[in-house]
């Protein structure tokens, strides 16, 4: 249905089309990754004390896959719990602000101040206050997502169609009915766009939390910290590679969700 190519042609033509389309899609990223890998490898061979070679990194996964898997799960858990908490808090704040302008004026400056303060500066204080357990990591991963989610939620709640708001008012719908039946569903695309930013961002928060809690031994951030102190570059870069993969995977999950809900509110209001 989506593909515009005509189906009246002979059999091999669509197949060749598909191959060509895949090539056009995959070729540029494969080339850029290949060039970067080659440059990395050449540089690492001549400067063994600056970066590890690619086979050295690969060896890490071959020798101790369980180590990286376990640390990845710890970091993932910190990031997801933090992101969930931060997004729920940001959303509830947005709902309150959209109902009560007074709350928006009171809380928004605080939220902005929290947002512009580097999270890495707050992290040590939080570790002191909440100990070396998981709690400060959840909080830090949550703090970094509250503001972007709050702003997007607010824009989303306010994106409700004005004609519909008028219609709801002539029905004398209550404020909660307007929220539940109109503003909340209207904000869904905005919430997903915010999640696409916030979920990978919470991984950053979790790693910052792990960096700040010296002495703690689990999580990819702790692994990097300890390995860097021992100048074990292969471990450092292996953990970095896992973090990159983690971020990409989480982004893809949100993108898949966006794709699944792409027909949630297609633009019908503006065009006739």
């Amino acid at each position: 249905m989506i593909s515009p190519s005509p189906t009246d042609g002979s059999e091999p033509r669509p197949a060749r089309e598909t191959v060509r389309r895949h090539l056009r899609w995959w070729f540029p990223p494969l080339v850029s990754v290949g060039v970067l890998g080659l440059a990395w490898q050449l540089y690492a061979l001549h400067n063994p004390y600056v970066i590890p070679t690619i086979p050295q990194i690969a060896d890490q996964f071959r020798h101790a896959p369980g180590l990286y898997w376990h640390d990845m799960l710890v970091t993932l858990q910190e990031a997801l719990i933090g992101a969930a908490g931060g997004m729920v808090l940001g959303f509830l704040l947005a709902v309150t602000m959209s109902r009560l302008p007074l709350v928006e004026r009171a809380v928004m400056p605080l939220a902005v101040a929290l947002n512009v303060t580097p999270v890495i500066a707050i992290a040590p204080g939080l570790v002191v206050a909440f100990g070396f357990g998981y709690l400060p990591k959840y909080i830090i991963a949550g703090v970094v997502v509250v503001f972007p989610f709050l702003i997007n939620s607010l824009v989303g709640l306010r994106s409700a169609d004005h004609g519909l708001l008028d219609v709801f008012r002539t029905w004398h719908a209550s404020s909660w009915q307007v929220l539940w039946h109109l503003e909340l569903p209207s904000s869904v695309p905005y919430l997903l766009a915010a999640a696409r930013i916030c979920v990978p961002l919470s991984v950053v928060g979790a790693v910052v939390g792990e960096f700040s809690a010296a002495g703690q031994t689990t999580g990819l951030g702790s692994l990097i910290e300890v390995a860097a102190n021992q100048a074990d570059l292969a471990i450092v870069y292996a953990a970095v590679a896992v973090l990159a993969l983690l971020g990409v995977s989480l982004t893809l999950v949100v993108v898949a969700l966006q794709h699944a809900l792409r027909n949630w509110s297609p633009a019908t209001q503006t065009r006739p």
Binding site: L164, D166, V167, T170, A173, H181, P185, P266, A267, P272
Partner: protein, 288 residues
């Protein structure tokens, strides 16, 4: 100093409070009565006079059309009639009640864009009107029937389970009108509902609206900038002039119903259209 200011505030608020009562006492049974409505918009220090002392009335079952140039305040007037905006001065009553009174006013409001909920099916969109209205303390009226029946009456039986983005613009607007009929309104308020449609669709939609209006004679206040629409639909045409919005003239339409379409247009109808056009031209802003 403080005392005089208090007095001023008192007299102002008491006048505002007594205004609707004073007007309702002098009222007979007009379905929709707009009396001396004045509205200004303020942006910073600039004040725009949108409506200046506008009065009009629609009797029960009448189709009244407001026509005027863009920016003459006709949409503002409609939103005031719906209770969505408060007039600075003057009053609006529906059968003697204020339009923003939850218990009494039954308003069917059709905004300019179809304004359907995109995540709900056609049927669910219309059912929501019943659901929310019932919760506001109004029993569903026996006249309105089920949402399914209403949509069948509007010729939409085959798209009940479709979502709005799968429909044409004309169909979407028809769903919006069905949604306004389902609450069994005493007054239908329509803000250029066909303005975004192409001419053929617009004609078909107009004929459809007239058929349904004749089926259950609602009182209608219909805003448009199309002369032929106004003459085809109305019992009364109200011509407005702009800046500030005033009623230029009121033209009763005595043409027989049903009024024929297109080629078979009678001479009387053409004369009336010319008359409306002349009035519009006469009251148009000098710049145009």
């Amino acid at each position: 100093m403080g005392a005089t200011r208090d007095n001023g505030a008192m007299s102002l608020s008491s006048r505002r409070a007594s205004d609707p009562d004073a007007t309702s006492a002098s009222r007979d049974s007009g379905a929709l009565v707009i009396e001396h409505v004045t509205k200004d918009y303020r942006t910073g220090s600039r004040v725009t006079h949108v409506l200046d002392d506008v009065s009009l009335r629609a009797e029960t079952g009448q189709f009244v059309t407001i026509i005027g140039p863009s920016g003459c305040g006709k949409s503002t007037l409609l939103r005031i009639a719906a209770g969505l905006l408060r007039p600075d001065r003057g009053a609006v009553t529906l059968f003697g009640e204020r339009p923003d009174h939850a218990a009494t006013a039954h308003i069917g409001y059709v905004p300019q864009t179809p304004s359907l909920l995109p995540w709900r099916t056609v049927l669910a969109n219309v059912e929501l009107a019943l659901q929310l209205n019932t919760r506001a303390g109004r029993p569903p009226s026996p006249d309105s029937g089920s949402a399914r029946e209403m949509l069948e009456r509007f010729g939409l039986a085959h798209v009940l389970d479709r979502r709005p983005h799968e429909l044409s613009g004309g169909m979407r607007q028809r769903v919006a009108i069905a949604r306004s009929f389902i609450v069994d309104p005493t007054v239908l308020l329509m803000d250029e509902p066909f303005s975004s449609l192409d001419e053929l669709t617009r004609d078909a939609q107009g004929r459809e609206l007239l058929r349904l209006w004749q089926w259950n004679q609602k009182t209608v206040l219909f805003v448009t900038h199309s002369v032929s629409e106004a003459v085809a639909f109305s019992d009364v045409i109200v011509v407005m002039s702009s800046s500030p919005g005033r009623i230029a003239t009121t033209i009763p339409v005595a043409l027989e119903r049903p009024r024929d379409e297109g080629r078979e247009r009678s001479g009387a109808r053409r004369d009336l259209e010319d008359q409306v056009r002349d009035e519009l031209r006469r009251h148009a802003p000098a710049a145009q």
